[in-house]
Every structure is written in structure tokens, then in C-alpha cells.
């Protein structure tokens, strides 16, 4: 390595979270390769390796581990990963402001939410379980569509729409979590 290789890596000098792990930016992801790179980096920078070091190294270690954890968390999660990919291509998915969705999708969402309310009302865990597995299927389908449109067709507009849908399903998933807690 060059003696004075210049500044240390900073977040701005890194193109993307994928770069941090030496992976090509793509929605379709080799989970094992990601995990392996994550663990290899952690084994070098984790604070447990520097518990007896000086303040400067302890601080640098914490900053790096924090960053690596954040990047890993984003890449592991399909919604966050897709959002990050689109951001790298200059697209702000803009979930809060721009929420035009296809009518049939919205109707299906209403239907799912009604089922959720009914399950909570009846305190029926089996209904929640069924709802969750139906949702899991829909998420998988959307994810495979997303892999197609993002990685192969490079259809950014289509992808953006699919990410938004996935966000909806994700939110519903969280509501199902709260529903379980409410019933218990």
C-alpha cells in the first residue's frame, strides 16, 4: 500500500453501500457474499478489537462499525436496498409526497387492512397468521418483479412504483406486529 495513500475513506468518497462490501450494485443480492464481507470487515474494525486501545482508535473503530452496521442493515432489507439503488441513480423515491398508486393495488390494501381490523376485533391469532403468510407471498412476488425491472430492464419508473408498493406492504407488516401485541 502506498505510504501516504491520502485521506482515509470517508462516506463521501464511497459511491454506495455496495462498494463498502465490494459488491456490485444490484437488487438481486448474494446474501452469503454480503454476510461474509460484513463479518470480515467487522472482524477488523469492531470495538471489541480495540477495547484496550487508545481513545483515537476506539473512536475510529466505533465510527466505522456504526457505518458498516448501517450499510448492512440497508442492504439486507429489500425495501431499503431498492430505495438506496434508486437514490444512487438520482431518484428520490419521495414516499411522503408522491403517493399516486394504481387503484387495484389500493383496493387490495384496503381489503387487507379490513382483514387486519377484523382479526384484532376477534382477537384471532390464527387470522393474523394467515394474513401474514398471504402478505409474505405478495412481498416475494413484488421483490422478484423488482429484481426484473431494476437489474435487467433498468426500468427506473416501473421500479419506483414497485418500491412504493413494497413500502405499503412493509407498513402493513408492522401493523400486524402491533396487532399481535395488542391481542396478547
Amino acid at each position: 500500500m502506498n505510504a501516504v495513500a491520502g485521506k482515509a475513506l470517508t462516506s463521501s468518497s464511497l459511491q454506495s453501500h455496495f462498494d463498502l462490501f465490494g459488491l456490485a450494485p444490484a437488487f438481486g443480492l448474494d446474501r452469503q457474499a454480503l454476510e461474509k464481507a460484513y463479518l470480515e470487515i467487522q472482524s477488523r474494525v469492531h470495538p471489541d478489537r480495540f477495547a484496550h486501545a487508545g481513545d483515537a482508535e476506539r473512536r475510529a473503530s466505533m465510527q466505522w462499525t456504526t457505518r458498516v452496521n448501517e450499510a448492512y442493515r440497508i442492504l439486507k432489507d429489500p425495501v431499503q436496498r431498492a430505495k438506496h439503488l434508486l437514490e444512487l441513480k438520482g431518484i428520490d423515491v419521495g414516499f411522503e409526497t408522491n403517493t399516486q398508486m394504481p387503484t387495484d393495488f389500493l383496493l387490495r390494501q384496503l381489503e387487507l387492512r379490513e382483514e387486519l381490523e377484523a382479526a384484532v376485533h376477534k382477537k384471532d391469532v390464527a387470522l393474523l397468521d394467515a394474513l401474514r403468510s398471504a402478505l409474505a407471498g405478495e412481498k416475494l412476488l413484488l421483490e422478484s418483479q423488482l429484481a426484473e425491472s431494476l437489474d435487467r430492464k433498468q426500468d427506473l419508473e416501473g421500479s419506483t412504483g414497485q418500491v412504493r408498493k413494497l413500502m405499503f406492504l412493509h407498513r402493513l407488516d408492522q401493523e400486524i406486529d402491533s396487532a399481535y401485541e395488542e391481542i396478547e
Partner: protein, 620 residues
């Protein structure tokens, strides 16, 4: 030699360089200290060969303190001055503690954390805990014949920030260098995982004296990864005693009891509970101060029925952790039982029924946490060569958030996020010319701030006057490897920056710690100056050693001028270490730390590049 850890495999400190590091299980009922000697972890017993130290502290008039069995035996005689289960009060206010009315103490409500009035003055739970830790530290130093270079202290995984901070404060007050706060179920998983070469997904069910934790971990060679954790920091074996105590009062139709009788019957209830683990029924007999005699027999069936709700209460967090981890009961390869309270047959049955498999009980539930902590301390001290150590990835148990309009809590870092973790959020002013902004940091899962735990409040002042919505205040949350939160805020839109760092309000200010230290030295007749000198010297030598090995390994990352600056700082520290001026040593340590900042960053960078270059690194 922590820095050698990122050296290539095969390098390890020579035996004479091994550091004395201990693991401490600071339990509600009992505490233990353990260390790794000649390869294996072992609990260090007291001079009479007893491994456990009852977590009971008795204060005498004049300041004398008794800890452990001696204090425990005086509980019923001197209840107000004999503090048991102090862990329940760590980082807690008077309104937070359940069954406060049946605790025989003289509570003082103080801002942040409650305090206890004793014959030796008003004591905070932090001071009481530090007495326990001091005894364990002395035990270890006597047994290992040397100064302890660092300690891993375990805490319930479900402890919030205030409780963690209080624990760390107690350890510092006891003169311990805290290498890490480690979650109890994680410590147990280390001990279990290494002992049994376990791989796969495991649950740790940890029912201690006062707390319940459930953690789900993924174990693979060289990696312990916590996937989710849940629990109840106000549920433990003590609550089973309490149910039995209430049953006795009801059965014997007793009038309101004084502190002594209350304590006596609570102890009898606990003995009966322990007896029932091996027998179908247990006698409860006691002579009260009025002369009245209580003589009852409790059978297993009664005990199970009066504690059924408590057992069920543990299953809620179990289900929650599974959901958070996205796992089903079938995915769990084994359930490791930890904590003395898991000896109760009804607990074993409930766990077996829920997980549809026999729980794993092959480690002593009282010792496993301390053993795991000792193993982790040994790694953190740098005593394990690369390749024989492991990576530990833990999470925060409860979401961290900030109060927003309308008393709502907005989550900033979600529960079960791997630590260390950081997140920033931007806020803006809502009035023209507004120059200050106040923040309220909270922890918990509920939507309303009122239902969450308040950790800290702080105000950012000195924002330049601007139109409403023009200021950009960035609030950053950083959770460190101990699970402790640091919050800072800065306004940056106008180029004017203000920054503030807050410590949770339940944590003690450094000044408080100093006062407590001074108080404790007055009794120990030690000299603050001598102690400060010895501490800074240890710090200084540690830093010198770490810096030298870093230079030996990665010195080529520095330009000649940079190298010179570091060498000069080393030389100056070396010289001052010969002297006896604590403050000068501290300054030289700070200078060397500053001089190596850029170097440290570059080394991390180089470490990452090496990792990505696909070099073999140990077992990973």
C-alpha cells in the same frame, strides 16, 4: 495488546503479557466474579470457598459496610439498613418500582434515581452496587495476585439506557476499568456456545432474581450474533417469592406487618420456593415479633397456581422476540436456560411446552453468565490470539426516540438494531427569529411520550435568528458498544454551529461520581492523588503499548512529518510517566491521542481494504 488483534494470524501476546481481566455477574440475588486461567474459565470463590456473593449490603452507623453472607444473615434483624435486590432500583425513580410498599426501606425520592436512607447516610443504588463490586474486585485481586486491568460487567439485555448507565457508574465507582457492558443472555450464549460447539439459532431464556430476558442468537464458528432480544426488567424470582409471601399473609390472616416481620416472611417464602423445586410440599414456620407463630404448609399445586400468571408473563416477550426475528418455534435449535429461577419445575415445563422441546440445562444456571463474561473479558483484554477469538454482535433492546409535537414519540433508532449504531434527524424552527430549541430524548415502544421512559432533556441555544423553517438542526443519536446513548445537536444552515452532548438524566454527573469517590476514600483512608496517579499511569502505559504496536504494524501509512509528531508525543509521555504528576500525565495522554487520530482512521481504512482483498482472517 489489542492492536495485535488485527495483525495476521498466529501472533498472540506472550504469556507474561497476559492481562488480568474478569467477568462480573452483578445479579439481583447473587453476584459472581470469574476469570480465564490456563485456558478455562472459572468462578473465583471467597476465602471460604464460596463462589456466590449474596447481593446484600448492610450499612452500619459510622460508615462501616458489610457485604454478602454476613449482611444477608442480618436482613430480618436490621431490615432498613440491609439492602437486598438493589438491582431493582438501578436507574429507577420511586414511581417505577413495583411492590415498593412491601420493601422495608426508607426511600428518598430524588430526581432521576431514588435513594435509600441508612444508618450511614443516604445512599444511591449506584453506591450500594459499587460496594458489591468492590468486594468482588478485591476477591479477584487477592486470588489473581495483581491489579485487574479490566472487567466485563453483565446487565440484563432488557435494561434501558438509564439502568445501563447506572451500572457502569457503579463499576467506575468501585475502581473498575469497564471493558464492556455485556448482556446477560449473550454472556450465557458465549459460555454455552463455546462449551458445546453449538451452531444454529438458539434462544436463551434467562429468568434471574429480578429480571427476565429472552434473546435469540445465531451461532456460527467464531461469530455470536444476537438477532432479537426482549424481556421484562421488572420480573424475576423475587416476584414468585412475593406471591408466596402474599399467600402466607392471606392464609394466616396477618395484620399489617412491620419491616422485620415482612423481611422474615419474605425469606421464609423464598426458602419454601427453593424447597418446592425438589419436594411436593414445603413447610413455612416463623415466629413474628408479636409472638404469633405462623405455621403453614404449601404444596406444589398451590404454588403453581398462584404463580401461573408470572410464568405466562414470560411467554409474551418470547413470542415478541420470535416475531422480531422473523422466526418460528421450529427454527430454534435449542433453548438455553439461565438464572436460578429457571430451576422451578413449572418454568421448565412452560418453556418445554412452548418450544416443543426439552430446554438445555447442562450449565449451572447461577454461574453461566459470569463464565461467559470472563471469556469475553479475556478476548477484550487481547489475551486470545487472532483466530481463537470471536466476533460478538449485539443489539439495543428498546427503541430510542425523540418527542415531537403533541407528545408523540418519534423513533430514531429501532429496537433490535445492531450496535454500535447511529442515526441523525433534522429539525427546524417553527417561529421567526427563534434562537433556541428543546429536545426530549425517550426510550420505549409506545407511541405516546408519556408511556416511554424519559432519558434526557436538553436545549440547543444560540441558533442565529432566521425565518421560521430556515434553521437546520441536526440531532444525532449514537449508541456505543455498551448500548449507551450519546446525543448531540448542531445547527448548520448558517455556518454557525452549536453543539451539545447530553448524558441521560438518570446517569450521574461526573461531579457526583467524584464526590462519591471522595466519600469512599475517606473511609478507606486511601489518597485520591495516589489513586489518580496510578490510574493515569496505567492509562499512559496502555496507550504507549497500543501506539507502539500500531506503528510497528502500520507505520508505513504515515508520512515522515506525521511520524515525527507521533514520536514526539510518545517521547513526552514516556518522560512524564517517570514523574509523579497525574495532571501532566493526563495531558500527555490526551496529546498522544490527538496526534494519532488521523493514523487511527487510516488504519481502519487499511483494515477494511485488507478484509475486502479476501485475505484469510482467522476462522471467519
Amino acid at each position: 495488546m489489542a492492536l495485535l488483534q488485527i495483525a495476521e494470524p498466529g501472533m498472540s501476546p506472550a504469556p507474561h503479557e497476559q492481562r488480568l481481566a474478569v467477568g462480573i455477574d452483578l445479579g439481583t440475588t447473587n453476584s459472581l466474579v470469574a476469570t480465564v486461567r490456563s485456558g478455562g474459565p472459572a468462578v473465583l470463590p471467597d476465602s471460604l470457598g464460596r463462589p456466590l456473593l449474596p447481593s446484600v449490603v448492610r450499612y452500619h452507623l459510622g460508615g462501616k459496610v458489610e457485604v454478602g453472607y454476613a449482611a444477608q444473615s442480618k436482613q430480618a434483624v436490621d431490615p432498613k439498613n440491609t439492602i437486598a435486590s438493589v438491582k431493582r432500583f438501578m436507574g429507577r425513580g420511586v414511581k417505577d418500582v413495583a411492590h415498593l410498599e412491601s420493601a422495608p426501606y426508607d426511600f428518598v425520592d430524588a430526581p432521576g434515581m431514588l435513594q435509600l436512607r441508612t444508618a450511614a447516610g443516604v445512599k444511591s443504588p449506584v453506591e450500594v452496587s459499587s460496594e458489591i463490586l468492590k468486594v468482588l474486585r478485591e476477591r479477584a485481586e487477592l486470588s489473581l495476585q495483581g491489579n485487574i486491568s479490566g472487567a466485563v460487567i453483565t446487565v440484563p439485555a432488557y435494561f434501558d439506557d438509564a439502568q445501563r448507565q447506572a451500572t457502569k457508574d457503579a463499576a467506575q465507582l468501585a475502581g473498575l476499568n469497564v471493558l464492556r457492558l455485556l448482556n446477560e443472555p449473550t454472556a450465557a450464549a458465549i459460555a454455552y456456545g463455546l462449551e458445546n460447539a453449538a451452531e444454529g439459532i438458539y434462544a436463551v431464556y434467562d429468568l434471574g432474581g429480578g429480571t427476565f430476558d429472552l434473546s435469540i442468537l445465531k451461532l456460527s464458528r467464531g461469530v455470536f450474533e444476537v438477532v432479537a432480544t426482549s424481556g421484562d426488567s421488572m420480573l424475576g424470582g423475587d416476584d414468585f417469592d412475593q406471591r408466596l409471601f402474599c399467600w402466607v399473609v392471606e392464609q394466616a390472616k396477618l395484620p399489617p406487618l412491620d419491616a422485620r416481620d415482612m423481611r422474615l416472611l419474605q425469606m421464609k417464602a423464598r426458602e419454601a420456593k427453593e424447597h418446592l423445586t425438589f419436594h411436593g410440599e414445603a413447610p413455612i414456620t416463623a415466629r413474628l415479633s408479636s409472638g404469633e407463630v405462623v405455621d403453614l404448609v404449601v404444596d406444589t399445586e398451590t404454588f403453581c397456581s398462584i404463580t401461573q400468571t408470572l410464568v405466562n408473563k414470560t411467554l409474551g416477550p418470547v413470542r415478541k422476540a420470535l416475531r422480531d426475528a422473523g422466526l418460528k418455534v421450529e427454527d430454534i435449535k435449542g433453548v438455553v436456560m439461565v438464572g436460578g429461577a429457571t430451576r422451578m419445575p413449572q418454568v421448565q415445563r412452560a418453556v418445554a411446552e412452548f418450544f416443543r422441546r426439552d430446554p438445555l440445562n447442562n450449565l449451572d444456571p447461577d454461574k453461566v453468565v459470569a463464565l461467559g463474561a470472563a471469556m469475553q473479558a479475556n478476548v477484550l483484554a487481547g489475551n486470545k490470539p487472532q483466530g481463537e477469538d470471536w466476533l460478538l454482535l449485539d443489539v439495543i433492546p428498546l427503541s430510542l426516540g425523540v418527542e415531537t409535537m403533541g407528545g408523540l414519540a418519534e423513533k430514531i433508532i429501532a429496537r433490535n438494531t445492531t450496535i454500535p449504531a447511529a442515526k441523525a434527524q433534522e429539525f427546524t424552527t417553527f417561529k421567526d427569529g427563534q434562537t433556541g430549541m428543546s429536545f426530549h430524548v425517550v426510550q420505549g415502544e409506545r407511541e405516546l411520550v408519556a408511556d416511554c421512559r424519559s432519558l434526557a432533556r436538553f436545549e440547543l441555544k444560540g441558533i442565529p435568528p432566521m425565518a421560521a423553517g430556515a434553521a437546520r438542526v441536526r440531532v444525532s443519536y449514537q449508541v456505543d458498544a455498551d448500548g449507551l446513548l450519546h446525543v448531540s445537536a448542531r445547527e448548520s444552515s448558517s455556518g454557525v454551529e452549536a453543539s451539545v452532548t447530553v448524558k441521560p438524566s438518570y446517569g450521574l454527573a461526573d461531579a457526583d461520581i467524584e464526590r462519591m469517590l471522595r466519600d469512599s476514600f475517606q473511609h478507606a483512608k486511601e489518597d485520591m492523588h495516589v489513586r489518580a496517579l496510578s490510574e493515569y499511569r496505567v492509562d499512559g502505559r496502555r496507550l504507549l503499548e497500543a501506539t507502539r504496536s500500531a506503528l510497528a504494524q502500520d507505520g508505513k501509512l504515515l508520512a515522515p512529518a506525521e511520524r515525527q509528531a507521533i514520536d514526539a508525543a510518545i517521547l513526552s509521555l514516556e518522560k512524564l510517566l517517570q514523574g509523579s504528576e497525574p495532571r501532566a500525565i493526563k495531558q500527555a495522554v490526551d496529546t498522544l491521542n490527538r496526534a494519532t487520530e488521523e493514523f487511527a482512521q487510516r488504519r481502519m481504512d487499511a483494515g477494511i481494504r485488507r478484509a475486502l482483498a479476501g485475505k484469510k482472517i482467522g476462522s471467519l
